[in-house]
Symmetry: C2
Subunit: 301 residues, 2 copies
Amino acid sequence: LEFKILGTGSATPLLDRNPSAFMLSIDNYLILIDCGEGVQQRFLQHKIKYSRINHIFISHLHGDHYFGLIGLISSFNMNKRTEPLYIFGPNGLNDIISMQLKLSNSKLNFNLVFTIINPEVSETIIENDVFKIDTIPLKHRVPCTGFLVIKKASKRKILSNLLPENFPISYIKRLVDGENVFDELSGKSYLNIDYTAEGNKEKRFAYCSDTIFDLSIIDKIMNVDLLYHEATFLTEQQNRAEVTYHSTAAQAAQIAAKANVKKLIIGHFSSRYKTLEQFYIESTAVFVPSHLAVEGESYII
Amino acid sequence: LEFKILGTGSATPLLDRNPSAFMLSIDNYLILIDCGEGVQQRFLQHKIKYSRINHIFISHLHGDHYFGLIGLISSFNMNKRTEPLYIFGPNGLNDIISMQLKLSNSKLNFNLVFTIINPEVSETIIENDVFKIDTIPLKHRVPCTGFLVIKKASKRKILSNLLPENFPISYIKRLVDGENVFDELSGKSYLNIDYTAEGNKEKRFAYCSDTIFDLSIIDKIMNVDLLYHEATFLTEQQNRAEVTYHSTAAQAAQIAAKANVKKLIIGHFSSRYKTLEQFYIESTAVFVPSHLAVEGESYII
């Protein structure tokens, strides 16, 4: 599970701080979380093969989280995409995209499959063999949702070198599934514990942007391996954070500490701050394994 | 009259080729023509004080010409703009912007004044003491308009050093307006020709993007000082240009030659072409004073 940062800014961009956009790689899946303006330039800059994206998750309808989506959809179409594109986002997103496609007289070569997120409750919105994503209701000025991404534990790993030649595939499948195998022909038993090793453990990543300081999310993000939490302001602007339904670096760190997460990344920095050292100071003072989001950097869980 | 290029690409961006956006400076007016995605980053990059923009002209509703507009409006609002913003564009643009503002629960601090352009006829859509802009109906896959920008001839210039001290302001005004002045008190005549010099001549700039090769625009752009004309393709793709209602470099140059313009700039290059030398070769073969659009460069008329 790899989390790559494409945007560290908030509403107003700076030259080195683009609006929110994040890539998740889970095995062969390439997933985009939020899609700020100019995201295609970020893909080019960081050499991301974005044609492989099949799933896009939009947290809310503030522009710095979705203004790049219509352009991305248009480029997919220009580039002759045929694979369906699954978009999960708030009510209204579908209408915005549809209106713009209609007015540009665009007929898509691929299916656009919208799932409207209910911002009021935590729900599983996608699940397959590899991963599962649950929503995290957030408190912001408009309906807003975070995402809990769970990469499932992999099955037990087969220790091929210990097995006899021509060992049947059906037996391997049963061993991987955790069973023991008794071969009637040879009368030999193959105990799961002897021929397999433990698989990869489950991994958890939580994305929480944008939100006011809100202890009610703790339950949902408890013990995650990596938490991305917005930190638009420093403590000196805590009042402004409350009024605008954003968080400070110290508040993000409190959430991380209370939820006992392994590592915290903060981002979504207000453009009023030209340098970010103080974010690091205020966050690590509360929660040591805090990191500042840096565009182009990846975290592997 | 200064024309500054912020985007040289077409539908799909490249790292060094952004979608269409152009700045016009006419005396104190700062005017944006087309507004591709990421335009705010271009402003930052080229140090343009974009809060001074009061007029935006959108040629048509293909995304590479307007996807940056909603973000720009949002940033104006974040930056506490109060001046009205005048937007001229095709029918539907107002609805796109309004829907997005509504869904993000945004209340603007300034007036957004939309003028819907009739794409069928050439009309004057704005006129003041300094400039006048007429539309140029273009032929594209969706309703599309070019713009003829006329900087008006300035009044005659006063030769202050020849005038007596304490010469009345009202007399100066009359001289600048081209009149002669007779001063009853002194009995002296001040002939316009003695005390003023010719003002700046009228300047004309035409913007034609996007369009199929179309001789019917010639009349409108005749003799302009500077013509920007799209050149999405090379001659080897002339069929594709026709199908997609675009032009080739050679066709843009033919238009420039037939319209007897002083200088031609071509842009809107397809991302299929990684280098642009051939555009220059094919354009200058037909019309010598041809230039390739380069991002960040300005042309002063």
